[in-house]
């Protein structure tokens, strides 16, 4: 079967996206090769922005408040976009168990060899299901590339928006066991939906693949 491309990037539908024009192999004119005029032009642009901003800061336009752009971290924090790749986390189902089925694809794809899994089986209802007996993520190796998230067929590992508290004085502490990686699914719903969109996983049904 074939599936339709109906997903979006952010709020823009995919078919509305237009590629940007990129100039390649630019040959500089004599005027440009002299540099001085171009530097001067650049300085004019910079100065214009500086003056406009300063005037706007001192005498804000009517109806608008004076705005400070600097974020005073750690007292203040940025709002993280859903596309941000923080530390990878394992999705925890509503019943408290991990969603992962220990298929080993993330372990295989990981370019930094940060993941190691030992699989096992446990009872679920009348049937058995596979689960990771141990899932270890070496955060000292992780490169935050997000390939594990992309490859996961069960939406069981996603990149969270957490970027804090990852540095350690001891490398031993940077090896995260399964318990440290589990995050309830409710907290990750936004990212999971985003991942579905960008990787086309909304159409991902194993039984229809062939």
């Amino acid at each position: 079967m074939s599936y339709e491309l109906n997903y979006t990037v952010g709020s823009i539908p995919l078919d509305k996206l237009k590629p940007k024009k990129v100039r390649k192999n630019i040959e500089l004119t004599l005027w440009e090769r002299l540099y001085i005029p171009e530097i001067a032009r650049g300085m004019i642009v910079t100065t214009r922005h500086f003056i406009v901003n300063m005037v706007g800061f001192i005498f804000p336009p009517e109806g608008k408040k004076r705005k400070i752009f600097t974020v005073y971290y750690p007292e203040e924090k940025l709002t993280i976009h859903v596309a941000y790749r923080g530390r990878p986390v394992l999705v925890q189902r509503e019943d408290g168990k991990e969603k992962c089925i220990a298929c080993g694809l993330c372990e295989r794809i990981c370019p930094a060899f940060a993941i190691s899994i030992i699989g096992g089986e446990r009872q679920r209802g009348n049937d058995m299901e596979r689960y990771p007996v141990s899932y270890t993520l070496d955060m000292s190796r992780c490169v935050y590339c997000g390939l594990c998230e992309e490859v996961c067929p069960y939406e069981a590992i996603v990149m969270s928006n957490e970027y804090e508290g990852l540095a350690e004085y001891d490398r031993e502490n940077m090896i995260y066991p399964k318990e440290k990686l589990l995050v309830p699914v409710a907290k990750l719903q936004k990212r999971i939906e985003y991942v579905r969109k960008i990787y086309g996983k909304s159409n991902y049904d194993l039984r229809n693949m062939i």
């Binding site: 089925i101 298929c103 080993g104 295989r108 062939i210």
Partner: protein, 852 residues
Amino acid sequence: MKKVTLTIDGKKIVADSKKTVLEAAAENDIYIPTMCYLKKLNPIGSCRVCLVDIEGADDPMTSCQLPVMEGMVVSTKSDRVIELRQLMVKLILVNHPVDCTVCERSGECRLQDITYEFGISRQDLKAEPVERVKKYDWKLIRYNPYLCVLCERCIMVCHEVQGVSTYKIKNNGFRSVIDTVDEKPLDCDFCGQCIAVCPVGAMSSGLVLQARSWELNKVRSVCSYCGVGCPINLDVKKGKVYRVTSDDNIGINNGNLCAMGRFGYQFIDTEDRIKTPLIRKGDRLVPASWDEALKLVSAKFKEIKNSHGGDAIAGIGSERASNEDNYLFQKFFRTVLVSHNIDNLLNMENSSFGSEVFEKFDLPIINSTEYITKSDIIFTFGADACEENPVIGNIIRVTMRDREARLIVGSSRDVGFRPPPDFRMVYKYGTEVLLINGIIKSIIGSRESEGIKEFLDYLKGIKLEDVSSRTSVSKDLIKAISLSLIKSKSPVILCGREIYKHPRGVEIIHALQNLANIINGNIILYREYCNSQGVNDMGVLPDKYPGYKNVADLEAKGDFEKVWGVTLPVKGRMTAGRNIIDDVVDGKIKALYIMGEDIVLRSHNGNQAREALKKIDFLIVQDMFLSETALFADVVFPSASFSEREGTFTNMEGRIQKINKAIEPIGESRADWVIIKELANKMGGSFKYSFTEDVFKEIAAAIPLYGGITYSSIKNNGKLANYQSQSKKKFRVVQHSEIESIGDSDMPFIFLSGNTFFHLGTLSRKSAAMNMLTSECIVEINPSDAEKLKINDKDTVTVKSKNGNITIKTKVTNKSPQGVVFIPVNFENAPANILTNKKDAVIRVKIIKNEQ
């Protein structure tokens, strides 16, 4: 053989007339895809993936079943065939859920491969889903009917190779699934052949594969259980063995393994492993460092050597340790301690099958199993091929299938065979010689034969009626067996554990040699453990140097003095006719060094062994586990398992095979030869070996039997040691002699012991899977005897002999004839050797039912 000419894809091919098109194509590098075809089985033809077009035929045919014919024109790549093959795979995929992510077989799945190969990317067929039942209650085997492609490989391998025939196809058409024949939970050999041959993940191991197949690194090794020595692959990931597999077309086993070989690997990494050296402090064994332990042992050894002489220290080598370990072990004793006081348990029990195996017998009895595959009649005597060495059973079964060989099974228990043997005789224990003489008499009586006069004269005195009444084998059966033995062209006689543990073992082999001489047969002797042959070759013997050179032989002494660069002791063993344990009890031995053996469990006299170990001043045990023996020890050295080191094993054929290092040693354990090397160097020896190869180089140089073999030249199939024992056609007069029987008048049962499925030695008792299959020791008793004693199946009884008693459960079975009880060895909670105290006697026991 007749040859025929045919054309495949425009290529002219000459092939044997008995070949199929698929085989002929494969020989000429023409590829035909297959799925259900397996070389070791008869063609099944269920998957229809190997379809080919034949010129002149209306429809395509399956090439795996199609015999070649003269002038045949075959096309393997026609459009019609390719389309049909794709359709076949699509039809299989209709039912097959694509749960590859959770499937154990993913990555090595034949269906996956074929789907990729055929480029099937869309499915235009649909089917109604059918409810099926997954089988989780089949112990070590699991069956998922959703994944099953009904190729019938499991049914065929179980029937043809393993002989259990436990599977069938239930229902028909769309609803068919595999089930057991009686539709009860599976109860079979648990050899796992069905798992190995399953092309998809329908049959999977009960020991859930914790890793994924593509992550596993296959390390070639040799099974460390019985004497057959099957080559195996240890599948390793990040320092852990995840499963054991075996490749087809390699080695003695052709991909077949028994339950222990396939599922009994868990001992490698259990909690019970000794991780550090242990030293006795008071009545406890406390962990110590290697330095401490070696220092203590070397100091103690030096002290004893100075005060009592080197002879006061004795050593017991191991049938489970590699050739290198055993070689250095005896070298350590002979050169550093200047003592010949070393032995192994096999030789201690019966030196005729240990140190004298090449001189005592006229015909070679360490023979290649190729004799079985080339034979047309197989005579197993005192051997339980099905249970003791299941892989030998497989070889026999395949020979029976391929060559229509006939099988004669003779044993003191009704061991039988699967499929049922052509002849099956159950004789009274102790009358073996009489029976063989009866068979010879019956053969000679019906034809002229050469032979010495004395022998013929002796035969004249034998009466078949007499033989029949005393052995309880009917006269007609003896006649029928001898008739079929006469007709055979290449008979082979297999002797099992019962023979070499028998008080009259040597006489029986001599009698069998007379038989073999008459019928032109070969004798093959089983070995119980993986290196039972090698330990003797390496000279862990009190009266023989490596390569069976006599200690008394001054020339041999000179040779070894040159190789080892020391002066060797002239004196042989301390007391002739008595073994090391006897000497320990007498107090002549002050220190004992046991390498990798559990003598409390394995000695024929358990009580004596216990007494000896209590009495000894200084006991060193080198083992993987705290065995019964190790509990008595003053110092315990942790040794590495076969998967953690390199080395060579010599199997029952005399085939030298290499084991490779798969994982790092557990804890601080070390390979046995490294421990011996360090100890020797601490005591002033100069053992300069860096690798196992260095030791093997010295072995090859010192022992002519291993001469010309280099370590790197030992490949998959191993190398046969050159035992140059020429066969002499010599007849001996072997007379029946009564065996002394020990027991009171109220002890009616003859006690026999042996090995059963699922357990051999200490290792299998440490494997959880094997313990799940058989956790308890049982006593096998005949139904009529049980009725007399009012015993039911699984009752708890006390088995009492003059020497001691054990309490175990019963198993009422026809396998034990009347008046015989059988108890398997290897169970430490019910050690059968407590009942015995003398090796050349029949032990009689009585059975008392325990009140609940």
